[in-house]
């Protein structure tokens, strides 16, 4: 038979007491209860609206067999290629154009401000009517674009939405057209926050035009540009509208990206778990992007 010493008995009690103190901090007992009462609703909201949906999604897509099904689906394989191309081309082209345009919109003059107002319209107007009108414009038989071709050159234009690469390119174009104004404004704000003294000093030293951009603006904007590109990549990975309303994922399911394939698998194939798995398969790319973004945001605190 073993007997407990006084130290054995007292040990856990001391540990409990110190844990209790750590949790309570310097709060007195009544203050502690009130603090808890105010905290509980926030925790509940966080669990209901963040933890539960994310956890439920992960649970739905947690069966390894779903990923084997995905890998054996030829549509999934072409979807991965499309997604990589969409992110690589559309995001970078959009951000590069936004960088150049933000320089243009820095120019003085009332007409530049007027153009900026018009330029922002595609972003400000709801996406659905815009994408539907682009879809109609690109219709091979009666769309505006091919009718203009015919009127000007007496030739029929291509069937924009009937060939894989033309259709995917059209969806990328719509994505860039819709989102370019937003990123231009962000980079414009970045440029405007560069102190004028720096530019003036550079001017005195003879750095104007492209030199001013290369040695002053771009180094100061580089961090912002990178953060914007990372953010845009994350947003674009979840962009459902551009592909759905321009190419519809067709022809023959050849222009799907992960976001649209998820919906197709969930509802056209009536297999929500497979749909969730399709979207979840982007996580190995998404998580590193979020980590890099968080690190960059930390460094951004001390840089422009």
């Amino acid at each position: 038979m073993t007997t407990a010493s006084a130290i054995d008995i007292g040990g856990p009690a001391i540990a409990r007491d110190s844990l209790w103190r750590t949790l309570r901090g310097s709060l007195k007992s009544s203050e502690y209860v009130w603090a808890l009462a105010f905290l509980v609703p926030y925790i509940a909201v966080f669990f209901v609206f963040v933890v539960y949906p994310a956890g439920y999604g992960m649970w739905l897509g947690s069966k390894p067999s779903l990923y084997l099904d995905l890998l054996s689906d030829p549509i999934y394989q072409s979807t991965i290629v499309n997604t990589v191309l969409f992110l690589g081309i559309a995001v970078n082209l959009k951000m590069f154009c936004a960088l150049l345009l933000s320089g243009f919109f820095m120019r003085p003059g009332w007409w530049v401000k007027g153009m900026l107002m018009i330029f922002v319209l595609p972003w400000a107007v709801p996406a659905l009517p815009e994408f539907i009108s682009i879809h109609w414009m690109l219709n091979g038989e009666w769309g505006l674009l091919n009718n203009v071709f015919y009127a000007l050159f007496n030739v029929d234009g291509p069937s924009w939405l009937n060939e894989r690469w033309l259709a995917l390119g059209s969806a990328m174009y719509a994505h860039i057209w819709k989102n370019l104004p937003f990123w231009t404004i962000i980079l414009l704000a970045g440029r405007m926050s560069i102190p004028t003294e720096i530019r003036d000093a550079a001017k005195v030293d003879g750095a104007t035009g492209i030199r001013s951009f290369l040695y002053i603006s771009f180094p100061l904007l580089a961090n912002l540009y990178l953060i914007c590109t990372l953010l845009s990549t994350i947003f674009t990975l979840g962009d459902f509208n551009s592909v759905t309303f321009i190419s519809g994922g067709g022809p023959a399911n050849s222009t799907h990206v992960l976001a649209t394939l998820g919906i197709r698998d969930a509802f056209d194939l009536a297999n929500p778990r497979l749909g969730v798995a399709a979207v979840m398969s982007a996580l190995p790319v998404m998580i590193p992007l979020v980590i890099i973004l968080m690190r960059k945001l930390k460094t951004a605190e001390v840089q422009l």
Binding site: E141, N162, A266, A270
Partner: protein, 457 residues
């Protein structure tokens, strides 16, 4: 103003919890007379008005409440899948496509409604009833899983004025399948010669999404002798040389018409309503599309409405009558529904022959009535309107067969992947060999069917 103290807050909270607990049974009792019902929104306002009138009449007769939502059918499918997956379901859902019901019945997600259907089933089109008599892989039995209300077939829709402008005559429409399709080719040439640049002889969905391309492929395959692809015992007959030949002929016929320029090129990327829109804008002379929604959408534009010819299936190339594939649409009661009794009672009310007849008539007859005796006796169906006459004859009185999904839900997955139409697209767009694509599609079907074994009864 009362001062909030810790005790008063705790006391108040406990009071609320207690009140909620005591009130709960009474709230539940009150709700037991209410059924939450999701129905598909109609193509025309008259369809929705007809449903509302029927629901109001039931409420008045029973004292129960029907808490309904009318939802566009694509959104309804998404809502239905989400609800059934999460287990938070309404008491009744109308399944507006022909894949979801067989798949959910297989997974034991639907309540058996045999007691609702049995009293009236002898009055229904017998060839169509299997559409709702579905296999449950858990109980290893078939049972009525949907309440049959609307019968739908796929007719041809033809612009009479375009046929004549293109140099053809409606009276000369050939009676057999291939000749019927070929009739529209010189018409297209005539229209082009008359200065209509973008007009096509034929229009049907050669896309890989939705159910329309499945209807197209099946109709052509049946016309070429492939009716027995799946037999009522749920077996796939992909190794039957006649079936394979019918599949190849279908792939060749559909892809050749496309490659020869008799079908709008955009049809490879059409969505559900795109062929209706293209037909309405006179992009093509003929369309092959389910129900007479194409005509009903123009009901209030008399000149256009009268300019359309609704036409049933031609004969086979050998001169034999072809069965139209039909589906019986109707609501299901998902497992987990709270008020099954009210939902069943509402179902029984809706399929009383007289009630159902008035409901479908008020919806302009877009859906045909699946009860032949009433169809023959009520002049609305066969005497008052040429579109309804042709469509009702095709769906109810002429030879019919149920959709393949009724026999085995595996074909629903084959259809959802559009395996056969993908073969057509590969031939017409990538120049693939029809035989190889037919083999590939049939092999894919075999793989899927292996996951859906049906016990022989």
């Amino acid at each position: 103003m009362a001062i909030l103290t810790r005790r008063s807050v705790v006391r108040g909270s406990l009071g609320l919890i207690a009140a909620g607990t005591f009130a709960r049974p009474f709230i539940a009792n009150a709700a037991a007379t209410t059924a939450e019902v999701w129905f598909a929104q109609g193509f025309v306002p008259e369809e929705d008005a007809a449903f509302k009138t029927m629901a109001a009449a039931y409420e008045k007769a029973s004292g129960n409440k029907i808490d309904y939502s009318l939802i566009p059918f694509a959104a309804l499918r998404q809502k239905a899948i989400s609800a059934i997956t999460s287990g938070v379901v309404p008491d009744m859902i109308e399944l507006a496509d022909f894949q979801l019901g067989p798949l959910q019945a297989w997974d034991d997600k639907l309540t058996d409604v045999s007691d609702v259907v049995e009293p009236v089933k002898s009055q229904y089109v017998q060839g169509a009833l299997p559409c709702t008599y579905l296999y449950n892989s858990v109980t290893k039995k078939r049972g009525y899983c949907a309440i049959p209300m609307k019968i739908a077939a796929v007719p041809f829709h033809i612009w009479k004025s375009l046929v004549e402008k293109g140099g053809g005559k409606i009276a000369d429409l050939p009676k057999t399948w291939d000749a019927f399709m070929d009739f529209f080719k010189p018409v297209q040439k005539g229209l082009r010669a008359a200065g209509m640049r973008n007009v096509y002889g034929m229009g049907y969905q050669l896309t890989a999404t939705g159910v329309d391309p499945i209807n197209t492929f099946n109709a052509w395959m049946i016309a070429y002798g492939g009716q027995g692809l799946i037999t009522p015992d749920g077996k796939l007959h992909s190794d039957d040389p006649h079936i394979k030949e019918a599949v190849i002929k279908t792939i060749v016929n559909l892809s050749t018409a496309f490659k020869d320029g008799y079908v709008p090129p955009g049809c490879v990327n059409w969505n559900d309503a795109d062929d209706n829109n293209a037909f309405h804008s006179k992009l093509m002379v003929m369309d092959f599309d389910g129900t007479i929604s194409t005509e009903v959408a123009l009901y209030h534009e008399k000149e256009k409405y009268d300019d359309i010819l609704t036409h049933g299936l031609p004969l086979s190339n050998e001169g034999k009558e072809l069965p139209s594939q039909v589906n019986l649409f109707g609501p299901v009661i998902p497992k987990g529904a709270k008020n099954v009794a009210v939902a069943k009672e509402f179902g029984k009310y809706m399929i009383q022959p007289k009630v159902l007849n008035e409901y479908l008539k008020a919806g302009l007859g877009r859906w045909a009535l699946p009860i032949p005796e009433i169809v023959k006796s009520d002049p609305f169906w066969l005497k008052e309107d040429p579109h309804r006459t042709a469509y009702t004859t095709q769906s109810v009185l002429a030879p019919t067969m149920p959709i393949y999904e009724a026999y085995n839900p595996a074909i629903a997955q084959v259809g959802a992947e559009n395996a056969f139409m993908s073969a057509v697209i590969a031939v017409m767009k990538d120049g693939a060999k029809p035989e190889a694509e037919a083999d590939k599609a049939l092999k894919r079907a075999e793989t899927i069917f292996a996951k859906y074994p049906i016990a022989s009864s």
